[in-house]
C-alpha cells in the first residue's frame, strides 16, 4: 500500500467520511473511494464503482461479487450511541461502549448530572432531549438508550428516536414503569409498531443489578440487534422428576 494512499485514508477516517479501499488481490493495486471520488493506481469501471458504493452503504467488507479478486475494505465512521440521561448507569455504559468501538454522546440538560467531572471523556450534549436528539439525527448506524427514569426527559427523546431509523432503541425501567410509559406514548399517538421497537425493560435478562452489570446487559442487547442475532434461549435443565419417571 502506498503511503500517500494510507495518509488519504486516515484523513478521510478522521473526517468521518464513508470510505472504501479496494485492493486487487492478484497484484496489490489499490483504489481509495471517498464520496464518489477515486484515487490510486487501480482503475475501476462505473459498474464496479457502483458496487463499491453499495458495499459502503451496506457497511460490508469483502470480495466484490462482480470480481472476486477485488477486495473492498469499508471504513465507515464509528457506530454511534446516544445516551439520554447522565445517570449512574451511564457512567459505566459510556466507557464500555467506547471500548466496543462506539462514538458516544450523552444528552442531559441537567448540569448537576451532565458535567465533565462525572463524564470526563465523552461529548456532553446540552438541551432538551427531543431537540438535542433531532439535531443529532440518529441514522441506521445509531443506537439510542434513554436512562433518565424521568418521563419528562425520556418520553420526548423516545418520540424522536422512534421516528428515526436507529438500529436499537432501549428504555430503562421495570415492566410496570415500561407499561405506564407505553400507555403515555399511546396517548401521544405513537403507534404500536413503533412502540414495539423499544427494548424495555432495557437489556438482556441476565439478572443485572449494578450499573456495570446493567451496562453489560444493554451492550449485549445492542450487539444482538446490530448483528440481527436471534434472541437467546435459556437451556432448560431436565426436570429430575421427569427423568426418574422414565
Amino acid at each position: 500500500m502506498k503511503r500517500a494512499l494510507l495518509e488519504a485514508l486516515q484523513t478521510a477516517r478522521a473526517e468521518k467520511r464513508p470510505t472504501a479501499l479496494v485492493t486487487d488481490l492478484t497484484g496489490g493495486r489499490q483504489a481509495l473511494m471517498i464520496a464518489g471520488t477515486h484515487q490510486g493506481d487501480l482503475a475501476l469501471s462505473d459498474d464496479l464503482r457502483a458496487a463499491v458504493e453499495e458495499a459502503i452503504r451496506a457497511d460490508r467488507s469483502g470480495p466484490l461479487a462482480a470480481d472476486e479478486n477485488l477486495f473492498v475494505h469499508v471504513h465507515n465512521p464509528p457506530l454511534r450511541l446516544i445516551v439520554v440521561g447522565a445517570v449512574h448507569i451511564s457512567q459505566a455504559l459510556v466507557p464500555m461502549a467506547q471500548l466496543a468501538g462506539y462514538e458516544v454522546l450523552v444528552v442531559d440538560p441537567r448540569k448537576a448530572w451532565a458535567n465533565a467531572e462525572r463524564f470526563p471523556d465523552v461529548a456532553l450534549v446540552d438541551g432538551w432531549p427531543d431537540e438535542a436528539l433531532r439535531n443529532l439525527d440518529p441514522d441506521h448506524r445509531s443506537a439510542v438508550v434513554v436512562l433518565t427514569h424521568d418521563p419528562k426527559l425520556d418520553d420526548p427523546a423516545l418520540g424522536v428516536a422512534l421516528a428515526s431509523p436507529a438500529f436499537y432503541i432501549g428504555a430503562l425501567g421495570s415492566k410496570k414503569t415500561h407499561g405506564k410509559r407505553l400507555e403515555r406514548l399511546r396517548e401521544a399517538e405513537v403507534d404500536d409498531s413503533a412502540l414495539a421497537r423499544i427494548h424495555g425493560p432495557i437489556g438482556l435478562a441476565i439478572g443485572a443489578k449494578s450499573p456495570a452489570e446493567i451496562s453489560i446487559a444493554i451492550l449485549a442487547q445492542m450487539t444482538q440487534a446490530l448483528h440481527g442475532a436471534p434472541p437467546l434461549v435459556r437451556a432448560v435443565p431436565p426436570d429430575p422428576g421427569a427423568v426418574a419417571a422414565q
Binding site: 500500500m1 502506498k2 503511503r3 494510507l6 495518509e7 485514508l9 486516515q10 477516517r13 485492493t23 488481490l25 492478484t26 497484484g27 496489490g28 457497511d59 460490508r60 467488507s61 469483502g62 470480495p63 461479487a65 477486495f71 475494505h73 469499508v74 471504513h75 465507515n76 464509528p78 457506530l79 466507557p95 467506547q98 471500548l99 466496543a100 468501538g101 462506539y102 446490530l226 448483528h227
Partner: protein
C-alpha cells in the same frame, strides 16, 4: 461474504500505528483478512501490522496463523511482492500452523511502501 462490524477497541487505530511506524523510518507490513468460510475467529477486515523490529499489533485469527503471516510479512518487507495467503483445514500448512477451528481464511499481506 462475512460481514464486518467496524468495531475496534477504544483508542485502537492500527492504520494510524502503521503510518506512525512507517514515518519513524521502519518498514511495515499490513495483513488483512479478506474472506472467511465456515467458522473463523476474526471477521473480514481484521488486520495485523508488523514492522522490521517485529513489533505486532492487531490480529487476523485467534492467534493460530499469526506466526505464518508474520513469516510472509518479513519476506514482503524485504522486497517480495504482496501476497494472498490461504489457510484452512484442507491445507496441510493450516494444520501445521494450527487453524483447527474448522474454517478457511484468506489473508492479504502487503508492505506500506
Amino acid at each position: 461474504m462475512a460481514e464486518q462490524a467496524s468495531l475496534t477497541p477504544r483508542g485502537e487505530d492500527l492504520l494510524a500505528e502503521a503510518l506512525r511506524w512507517r514515518n519513524e523510518g521502519h518498514t511495515v507490513a499490513l495483513a488483512t483478512v479478506v474472506s472467511t468460510w465456515g467458522s473463523s475467529p476474526r471477521p473480514v477486515g481484521s488486520q495485523l501490522i508488523v514492522d522490521d523490529k517485529l513489533r505486532l499489533q492487531g490480529s487476523v485469527s485467534g492467534g493460530c496463523i499469526e506466526g505464518a503471516v508474520v513469516h510472509e510479512a518479513q519476506q514482503i518487507m524485504a522486497g517480495a511482492p504482496p501476497k494472498l495467503l490461504e489457510f484452512g483445514v484442507s491445507d496441510e500448512q493450516a494444520w501445521e500452523v494450527g487453524l483447527a477451528c474448522g474454517g478457511t481464511i484468506r489473508v492479504f499481506v502487503e508492505a506500506v511502501e
